[in-house]
């Protein structure tokens, strides 16, 4: 009896699914025509539908279609989806006209696919282009323009202004000594001076080390395979883990840790524990993060939260000062095989300039990319604007500290332990030395 029941169920399932299958097939016939007809733009976006950025892009696309009559098929892939999927799709010559991701990824990792738009973008750049961001785009693409930047970001220390006032600190620290003094005051007032999430500590360490030895120094220190040739030819100096400057830099962090400036959870804060559980509720005063932080924390902080920002402080006798920062941007690129490059470029201008760029700053707390919107920075990022505008040296992501995949996990663990005070400077150096293959 039961056996019959099972086979009946299986049969029902079969028939049912066949019906769904046929139904689905029938419906989609009509919509198939568009996508391979070549008169429809296909845009693979790094955002997910629910993000405010995606909603604004969708609006921009609708306006573009209304203005020009060109249909656009936007596929919101999300970060992971874009990273894992687009290379295969581009490699298989799928019909994709526009795609986006960070400048590094689009121009370097997927550098074989974007079209050179130096000519096409001339007028746009003159009218809207942010000099700094276009420079980054060109640098990452080996000297020519293959992408249009939008949604810039900068890394730095965000701080809670109310807590600084409470501790009697008047100005944001600019040097390591000033930071030391500020932390001491906070500590005295019973406030945890610095917290952070482990995800960003390589970046913080990169900045720290680069203040002492510069970005090239950091890259040679971690044995970035990309600079190996330059080191051999003597173009840049090879910094090793035995360098006294490296020891000095590591000792500076050890010193902070021994004074109890870092949160006791420093090595256990898996993103977003630090920003959400310590910084947002006002238990810790400072956190190292990117300029997307206010947007990520808008649901978690009190309404009267006062945002402050300062760049990584400079150190005595160091190579770089606070005008050297990790500034970057997402970029939009056109597939070199696109048959609708002109239309694609026009759509890009809808997203990156004027009205919709401004909307991004309002609804997603982004930094504006259009020169004309130069003053439209969200109030939460006012401090970041100063840092951004004063930047003259542009660091790569994490200042090159994450360029050696074999070292990165060890470095991250060691930096977190160093800050948490569970590892000494000497142990730190010998651990990193072993893992970087020196």
């Amino acid at each position: 009896m039961k056996r019959k029941l099972i086979s009946a169920l299986l049969c029902a399932a079969m028939v049912g699914t066949m019906l769904i299958g046929c139904g689905g097939g029938g419906d989609s016939k009509s919509s198939d025509g568009g996508s391979d007809g070549g008169n429809k733009l296909v845009y693979w976006a790094m955002w997910s539908e629910e993000e405010p950025q995606a909603k604004i892009i969708q609006e921009a696309v609708e306006k573009y279609t209304a203005d020009t009559g060109v249909e656009v098929d936007v596929q919101f892939k999300g970060r992971t989806g874009q990273r894992e999927g687009i290379e295969a799709a581009l490699g298989a010559k799928q019909n994709i006209d526009i795609f986006d991701e960070s400048a590094d990824r689009v121009n370097r990792a997927w550098g074989a696919y974007p079209m050179d738009i130096e000519e096409m973008a001339k007028d746009y750049e003159a009218e809207h282009g942010n000099e700094l961001l276009f420079k980054i785009c060109r640098e990452t693409a080996g000297g020519t323009l293959k992408s249009i930047p939008y949604q810039p970001y900068i890394y730095g220390f965000f701080y809670n202004k109310a807590l600084f006032k409470e501790a009697g600190i008047d100005a944001a620290p600019k040097t390591w000594e000033e930071l030391d003094a500020a932390c001491a005051k906070l500590k005295e007032a019973g406030i945890t001076p610095i917290t952070g999430d482990t995800a960003y500590q390589n970046n913080a360490f990169g900045h720290h080390m680069a203040r002492f030895v510069g970005q090239d120094g950091v890259k040679t220190l971690v044995n970035d395979p990309a600079v190996a040739e330059k080191v051999e030819s003597g173009e840049i100096e090879d910094i090793t883990w035995d360098d006294p400057k490296v020891a000095e830099a590591v000792k500076a962090i050890e010193d902070f840790a021994s004074k109890g400036y870092y949160s006791e959870n420093m090595s256990a804060n898996v993103y977003p524990a630090g920003q959400n559980q310590e910084f947002a509720p006002g238990e810790a005063a400072m956190i190292w993060c990117g300029s997307w932080l206010p947007n990520e924390l808008k649901n978690a902080v009190a309404e009267d939260f006062e945002w402050g920002f300062f760049c990584y402080p400079s150190v005595p006798g160091g190579v770089d000062d606070e005008t050297a920062n990790n500034v970057g941007a997402q970029v939009l690129a056109i597939n070199k095989d696109s048959k609708m490059a002109k239309e694609a470029f026009e759509l890009i201008t809808y997203i990156t300039a004027g009205e919709f760029d401004k909307k991004m700053t309002e609804e997603a707390m982004c930094i504006p990319t259009d020169k004309a919107n130069g003053d439209a920075w969200p109030a939460e990022l006012a401090g970041a604007k100063e840092g951004f505008d004063s930047t003259v040296t542009f660091y790569d992501e994490a200042v090159g500290a994450e360029t050696n995949v074999d070292l990165t996990p060890v470095l991250n663990e060691s930096v977190c332990k160093l800050m948490a005070g569970t590892m000494t400077a000497d142990e730190f150096i010998s651990a990193c030395k072993a893992a970087s293959g020196e």
Binding site: M1, K2, R3, L5, I6, L9, L10, A13, M14, G16, T17, M18, I20, G21, G24, G25, S28, K29, S31, D32, S35, D36, W47, S48, E49, E50, E51, P52, A54, Q75, F76, K77, G78, R79, T80, G81, E84, G85, A88, A89, G91, A92, K93, Q94, N95, P272, A273, N276, Q277, A280, P281, W292, N295, E296, L297, K298, N299, A300, V301
Partner: protein
């Protein structure tokens, strides 16, 4: 299953007491699960600030059902849902029809290449999915299938089945291997051809294994992410996992963690209901069916 019926008919204190240690262990573990999953449920109706202040279970600001409305609001959920249902159901049925006979033959008969086939199935499961999916994508893309929705659906199902074949067969192997040979011998004496013996006698006898593996397959395919991401790269083809994974991601990036947990609950509910249906209705029925 006569045993179970007996328990149901009368309460025997002595018997229950003997089982007490078992009860205690199981109840503690279930409580643990309840607290953990309950926290996710509570978080989905809380606010991000409350979650990270450690107040998810206290609801200081009341219940926030708007998280669900927002999570549901991205639209297209219905399409994802129907796609997933289609992919999972058809693939599961095909998997049983293809794998059960193969597993039976591999478990029962000694022939040249048997061990080699088994070992290749096992080693196939060890090959990382990226190494299988990405090259296959190149092949499929060159065949021009990707621009046709219906052909893409067939391809997807074909791949879901193909990818799960080694797993299903290896899983079913032991179930057939452990069945008594006396049934086949009796059937052979009665003049029943071996293939008929399989479908009429052995297949139903392995049902507990078949249903178990079908549940696993169903949940695997329902939650399958990477293959769907690569092959279903059009909104009309997307299954739940890919569609909703994006939603989870976006909630994290916008710092809407309460919304993320609401999305989790939405993804989770269909599998849970289907699981309840499959396990309670079918497993319960089958074990009774074989032994009775």
């Amino acid at each position: 299953m006569a045993k179970e019926n007996k328990i149901k008919t009368k309460f025997n204190l002595k018997k229950e007491l003997k089982l007490a240690p078992g009860y205690i262990i199981i109840i503690l573990w279930t409580l643990f699960i309840f607290v953990l999953l309950g926290w996710i449920l509570a978080a989905s109706m809380s606010t991000t600030a409350d979650i990270f202040a450690g107040d998810a279970l206290k609801f200081p600001t009341g219940l926030h059902f708007e998280n669900y409305i927002q999570a549901w609001g991205s639209g297209g959920v219905q399409t994802f849902f129907m796609n997933s249902l289609l992919y999972s159901l058809v693939s599961c049925v095909l998997l049983v029809l293809i794998c059960a006979p193969a597993a039976y033959v591999l478990a029962r008969f000694t022939f040249l290449g048997n061990k080699i086939i088994q070992t290749s199935f096992v080693s196939a499961m060890g090959v990382p999915i990226t190494m299988i999916v990405l090259p296959l994508f190149g092949v499929v893309a060159n065949m021009g299938i990707l621009n046709n929705i219906s052909a893409s659906k067939v391809t997807l199902i074909f791949l879901y089945v193909g990818i799960n074949i080694p797993y299903t067969i290896i899983f079913l192997l032991t179930f057939f291997a452990n069945l008594s040979r006396t049934y086949e011998e009796a059937a052979a004496i009665d003049g029943c051809p071996p293939s008929k013996t399989f479908w009429k006698i052995m297949f139903p006898m392995a049902q507990s294994g078949i249903v178990t593996v079908t549940i696993f397959n169903f949940i695997n395919i329902w939650n399958e992410y990477f293959l769907s991401l690569i092959f279903a790269n059009n909104d009309q083809l997307r299954p739940v996992a890919v569609g909703l994974y994006g939603m989870l991601e976006s909630m994290q990036y916008t710092g809407n963690w309460a919304g993320m947990f609401a999305a989790v609950m939405i993804v989770f509910l269909p599998t849970f209901i289907l699981y309840l249906f499959l396990s309670e209705k079918i497993i319960g029925g089958i074990t009774g069916g074989i032994k009775g």
